[in-house]
């Protein structure tokens, strides 16, 4: 307690220097918390964008369908599977799709697309494509020979709402199948992979085009959240014992997102390391200066019986106290700033084209992820304490005689 009091008093002896050090730690930590908040917010939005716009949480196909998109690979025994899925906990909604690679175009231009047949009523419970209509309307249950396309695709093949587009693909029996569809709506999700190469027709129209009767290629499941995925998968293993199916999670379908997340987190960890070193050196500099200034005083303390170990503990305590104040400041400031931008968002409208390639949104809502906050604090504390060992060790190794008579 006496040593703690002395450490505390020593810190107060040069308030300006102590405040600068506390600010360095605080601002550094706040910046790290904000950086993590920005990254976590961006990553979370990317994941949710993919899930809400494209994949749902889980997709069930016939084996190898995801890889080949072969029209004949329909979901075996789909009705029974559907019923079982609906009975599982954490399932919010389920829909079915038919899917194929197709050519869409006018008499002048055409493009390859991923054509998806959706059940409009059930689809809007699983994805929110309907909320992204830019022109025209979303598909309805009764629509026949109507298509909605992304705005980038529409721009490339110069299609407008009300225009006719021809869609051609290979049917289930291997023949070439095609119909003319009226463009009912144009959507804009902000994601290039969707806006440029996706076209949607009703499930019934797709079944007609592909000759599927009432078969489908894909069962899409929306759960209460991503945390429910492991439980759902384990339950599904009990439901589907046959090896005729593939059960894919959203990140197996679009692995690029998690790869991006890992990459961005690696960058942040590198920045984190650099910031830690800067903060650590700042603390070391402060404590080292303080030790040099007090060389004679520390020498006297040793002369009257303070052991080298006690001197080391005193200097480490001073370091810890500075760190703790800095961490408290950084935690509060970092949390407040991150929370604020989590409410109002940070807009990057001019970067839409760049962001759209990776399912990113142009407005990022920062997010306080406790794990990353705790990780930053612990890393900062360990790193700065480790660096702070040097001045403490140096003080402990002082010979009292040299310290007392230092000029």
């Amino acid at each position: 307690m006496f040593l703690f009091k002395l450490a505390f008093l020593n810190i107060g002896r040069n308030p300006r220097r102590s405040i600068i050090t506390v600010l360095a730690v605080g601002v550094g930590l706040a910046a790290l918390i904000f950086l993590w908040g920005f990254s976590d917010g961006t990553n979370e939005q990317m994941r949710e964008n993919v899930i809400r716009l494209l994949t749902g949480h889980i997709q069930i196909h016939a084996l190898d369908f995801q890889k080949t998109l072969s029209p004949e690979l329909t979901v075996p025994d789909r009705s029974a599977i559907l019923e079982k899925i609906k009975s599982l906990p954490h399932v919010q909604a389920v829909t079915e799709r038919a899917k194929c690679e197709a050519l869409i175009g006018t008499s002048e231009k055409s493009r390859g697309v991923l054509l998806t047949g959706i059940d409009p009523t059930r689809e809007i419970q699983v994805t929110d494509l309907k909320n992204h209509m830019k022109e025209g309307e979303f598909l309805s249950q009764t629509d026949s020979r109507k298509v909605i396309i992304g705005d980038r695709l529409a721009e490339k093949i110069q299609l407008h709402v009300g225009d006719k587009a021809v869609v051609m693909t290979q049917a289930m029996d291997g023949t070439l199948s095609g119909y003319a569809y009226e463009v009912k709506g144009i959507f804009h999700t902000g994601s290039q992979p969707i806006d440029e190469v996706s076209a949607y027709i009703t499930l019934r129209s797709a079944q007609e085009l592909l000759g599927l009767d009432d078969a489908t290629h894909e069962i899409v499941v929306r759960l209460t959240g991503r945390k429910a995925i492991p439980l759902f998968l384990s339950q599904m293993k009990a439901v589907i014992t046959s090896d005729q199916y593939e059960i894919l999670t959203w990140n197996q379908i679009i692995p690029e997102v998690e790869q991006w997340v890992q990459w961005s987190e690696a960058i942040i960890r590198t920045i984190l390391l650099a910031v830690m070193v800067v903060i650590g050196v700042s603390i070391m500099n402060t404590v080292l200066m303080s030790v040099f200034e007090r060389t004679r005083e520390l020498g006297v303390m040793m002369a009257i019986g303070t052991t080298p170990g006690q001197v080391i503990r005193l200097i480490l305590l001073e370091t810890f106290i500075l760190e703790l104040f800095g961490i408290a400041l950084g935690l509060v400031a970092g949390y407040l700033v991150t929370f604020y931008f989590g409410q109002v968002g940070i807009g990057f409208p001019e970067l839409e084209r760049a962001f759209s390639r990776s399912y990113m949104s142009t407005i990022t809502y920062t997010r306080v992820e406790p794990f990353h906050v705790v990780q930053s604090i612990i890393t900062l504390f360990i790193m700065t304490s480790f660096i702070g060992l040097y001045p403490a060790w140096k003080a402990g190794r002082m010979e009292p005689i040299k310290a007392i008579y230092r000029p």
């Binding site: 006496f2 008093l9 107060g12 002896r13 005083e297 002369a303 019986g305 005689i401 007392i404």
Partner: protein, 232 residues
């Protein structure tokens, strides 16, 4: 048995690859309860000898026994323990811990000895009363005069009841009157509590206060005498 026994001690300092002999084959014994002055001109080796006896430095050659224990080869940690238990230091510049108040400076040594907070405070207050510095207990060093700081430094040096108190030019920064008062006060302590005092000085007035005077010159004891006819 003498409380301090110095046998053939030589101390050589190395400065810029040159060897400088500070003490050369010095031998001296000091009995318990002595009040000894180390005199001699600057650079004669007074402070070096004090530092060696005070476990702050190690001799190049020879041996030093403090209260029967050979100290010349002990580790820094052991030396710190020995200083804490058996030695009190009074420095020329008082060297109080600036962050602490007067009473905290005194208590600090007791804390190092592991004495409980209530006992620490009791003993510190007692000694402050004896030294008539009870009004200063909450003052920090910069709020006290030199004489007051020196009294606090003396209180710190003896509060843990050391066997030997060492002082280096302890009146050099005090005016003549305060210096005399301090020496008389230390002498009183020496007589009442049988604490051994050894102090370095080149002030003739302070030398006169001692029971025994050891004179050093060029690292050697040149003269030793009892200043008065008292037992040493």
């Amino acid at each position: 048995m003498p409380i301090v026994q110095v046998k053939n001690v030589t101390k050589i300092f190395r400065e810029d690859s040159q060897a400088v002999s500070a003490l050369s084959s010095v031998s001296v014994e000091i009995k318990e309860g002595a009040f000894v002055a180390l005199s001699g001109p600057s650079g004669s080796g007074k402070t070096t000898l004090l530092n060696l006896i005070g476990c702050l430095d190690r001799p190049t050659e020879g041996s030093i026994h403090l209260d029967g224990e050979e100290i010349s080869q002990l580790s820094q940690g052991k030396l710190a323990q020995l200083r804490l238990k058996k030695i009190g230091f009074i420095f020329q510049d008082y060297n109080l811990i600036p962050a602490f108040t007067a009473i905290e400076n005194i208590e600090y040594v007791l804390w190092l000895q592991g004495i409980s907070p209530s006992e620490r405070r009791k003993r510190a207050i007692e000694i402050c009363e004896r030294f008539s510095i009870q009004k200063l207990i909450d003052r920090r060093p910069y709020e006290m005069s030199r004489g007051q700081q020196q009294r606090v430094a003396v209180a710190r040096a003896i509060v843990h009841k050391p066997r030997v108190v060492l002082g280096d030019e302890l009146t050099a920064n005090l005016d003549h009157k305060t210096g005399i008062e301090l020496m008389q006060f230390l002498k009183e302590l020496n007589q009442k509590e049988n604490i051994t005092f050894l102090y370095a000085t080149h002030d003739p007035v302070m030398i006169q206060q001692a029971n025994r005077v050891i004179t050093l010159q060029d690292g050697k004891i040149t003269n030793e005498k009892a200043a008065f006819s008292k037992t040493i």
